[in-house]
């Protein structure tokens, strides 16, 4: 196979682009593990930290299996179910034909069937494209994990994540990135404001509604457990986002650098806006670290659909607008109506859902046609993205709105169905006595294990009449099976 040669093919390959694609993908991977895992692990109550982190690690793994065996092709493969929907130039259908990404053929030049001719040929192999797209697919369920922590059954999580990734993520991705319907309509999403964040916010909210709220006691005592780890995760998120947005032009070109710069400008602006609003408008009139991290995330999410389309000025505007909007939603909406009823534990619907939607729509206003230009090969002329303020035309804004609503609708509907259907077979929610305890009841682990735990319980020894000092270590080992139940009850009585 020509592509298997070391170093690499002489045509259709650019080591610099391949290097950047793999690097960017790795930064995005770090956003999930350890980034989100420890950000969420530090934000939840102490009693839920282990469960939260294990949900993150397991989801990351599950999505990769799905992605390898059928998911990638459903998102970026040949069109499957098209209802004859045919759109000028491209835009065929809603989902790709499932297929595996195994085999040495993956070393061939990367290629997204429906985009052939619409963008220059890739300069790296299919494996690189596969992996880059995987880290995006993987982070999405980790994001809405923030909505369901503190009551969702771990078993249900293991079942739902693969289904969700297949039925929701792949479809959203195909419609907008894979050359599906909305791509054909001209809707754009630079690196996932819709496909990832709007979708995660929607899914999280619906999931939280179906699951019901956490224990009253947990909602009342929902203090984080470790702000140092929140900062660790947050920092990795910010800088990792350079790969998130910088990798999406698929080339290490000027637009990649511009996307990185815009990402940071919008984020800095949003962080400061949130911090200042906390300072001036919050009840306590104090700037807070967790508030600033919220603002930071809002900025990162908002710029995501726009990173390479807007210029620096646009990036600042997006940061200001979106941060203010989400801040208001967070303070004014959250305590009210359905937003108070539905227990979106970490507020994913605000910092990801609303922020992602803002960003997607603002592309329709602020996209600067001079930022990126696709040299059309294969017949089609070259095109670029221009928003209302530059082109005076509403078209972009309208298709952005259409795509956004489609994502919300499809994601909400399917998430609801998936949870309901799975709920018929397994309990979605942990029983209350387990919720009382948390990690200990679910995993027999605590995030900060007490150091006096011992393999040789005194009273047992006393009862057994043996001095623990001399009994062999195995004893303790074999003690386990004898009291699996006690572990449960014992734990829940100790929460």
């Amino acid at each position: 196979m020509h592509f298997a040669y070391i170093p690499y093919p002489t045509t259709g390959y650019q080591a610099g682009d391949a290097s950047w694609q793999l690097t960017a993908a790795t930064f995005v991977g770090l956003m999930s593990l350890p980034g989100l895992a420890v950000l969420y692990g530090g934000l939840v109550q102490k009693k839920w930290a282990v469960n939260t982190m294990l949900m993150a690690f397991s989801a990351f793994s599950l999505v990769l299996i799905v992605w390898t065996l059928w998911g990638f092709d459903m998102g970026f493969g040949k069109p499957w179910i098209t209802f004859g929907a045919k759109v000028a130039g491209s835009g065929t259908g809603f989902v790709g034909k499932p297929g595996t990404a195994l085999g040495s053929g993956q070393e061939a030049q990367a290629n997204i069937p429906l985009l052939n001719g619409l963008m220059p040929p890739f300069n790296f192999s299919q494996s690189a494209l596969f992996y880059f797209q995987f880290v995006f697919a993987a982070i999405t369920p980790l994001l809405w994990l923030g909505s369901v922590i503190g009551r969702m059954s771990f078993k249900a999580w293991l079942i739902i994540v693969p289904l969700w990734s297949t039925l929701v993520y792949s479809v959203d991705a195909f419609m907008i990135w894979g050359g599906g319907f909305w791509a054909g309509m001209g809707a754009v999403d630079y690196s996932g404001g819709y496909v990832i964040h709007l979708s995660a916010g929607t899914a999280g909210f619906v999931a939280a509604a179906v699951l019901g709220p956490r224990l009253r006691r947990d909602r009342d005592r929902g203090a984080p457990n470790n702000l140092l780890l929140c900062a660790t995760g947050a920092g990795i998120l910010w800088l990792g986002w350079n790969g998130f947005n910088g990798g999406d032009p698929y080339f290490a070109g000027p637009d990649a650098a511009a996307a990185v710069v815009n990402t940071n400008i919008c984020t800095a602006t949003a962080l400061l806006v949130w911090l200042i609003m906390d300072y001036l408008l919050s009840p306590a009139k104090k700037p807070t670290l967790l508030g600033s991290i919220n603002g930071m995330i809002v900025g990162l999410v908002t710029i995501t659909p726009a990173a390479g389309f807007v210029d620096g000025f646009g990036a600042i505007c997006l940061g200001v607008i979106s941060s203010a909007v989400v801040w208001l939603a967070w303070y004014k909406l959250q305590p009210r109506w359905i937003f108070n009823k539905v227990d979106d534990a970490l507020g994913v619907v605000y910092t990801h859902g609303i922020a992602g939607l803002c960003g997607g729509l603002l592309v329709g206003l602020f996209a600067d046609p001079n930022m990126i230009e696709y040299t059309g090969t294969g017949g089609t002329g070259s095109f670029s993205i221009g928003g209302l303020f530059f082109t005076g035309r509403w078209h972009q804004l309208i298709v952005q709105a259409g795509a956004g609503l489609t994502v919300i609708g499809w994601t909400a509907l399917m998430t609801f169905l998936i949870f309901k259907v799975v709920g018929l077979f397994v309990k979605l929610r942990l029983p209350d006595e387990v919720l009382e305890t948390g990690d200990l009841a679910v995993h027999d682990e605590e995030v900060y294990p007490p150091q006096e735990l011992t393999r040789a319980p005194i009273l047992a020894a006393v009862a057994a009449g043996t001095a623990p000092g001399d009994e062999p270590a195995e004893v303790a080992e074999t003690a386990a099976p004898s009291k699996p139940v006690e572990s449960g009850t014992g734990a829940s009585s100790e929460s």
Binding site: E436, L440, D444, E445, E446, P449, P450, E452, L453, T454, R455, P457, I458, L459, A460, A476, E477, A479, A480, K483, E486, S487, T489, G490, A491, S493, E494, S495
Partner: protein, 117 residues
Amino acid sequence: MKLVSAIIRPQELDPARRALAAFGSPGLTVTATSVATRWNRRLEIYRSTVLVADLAQRLRVDVLAADEDAADLAAVLARVAAAAAVRGGGDDTVGVWITPVEQAVRVRTGERGAGAV
């Protein structure tokens, strides 16, 4: 003056405080402690090693009470704790006892004796 001391489970602190408040003596001291237990072991597992805690985490509640209230306060606390014990399905780790206090000073006001509770 008496000092009424009770060992209760963490979950029962709020009920206990409400009961005390209702009884009209909101003041109390809460200290984290652990008690030996035969029946309430906790099992934890790290990297397949089974570790056991046969000291159960409990709270010690101390309340200063006038002589005449002491017994009733003890009863109040015992009732709260019992409720827990039952729900917990038999608990050997809770108890209440009363010790004499010869003198007490409420710093804020400087009152002495019973008035100082």
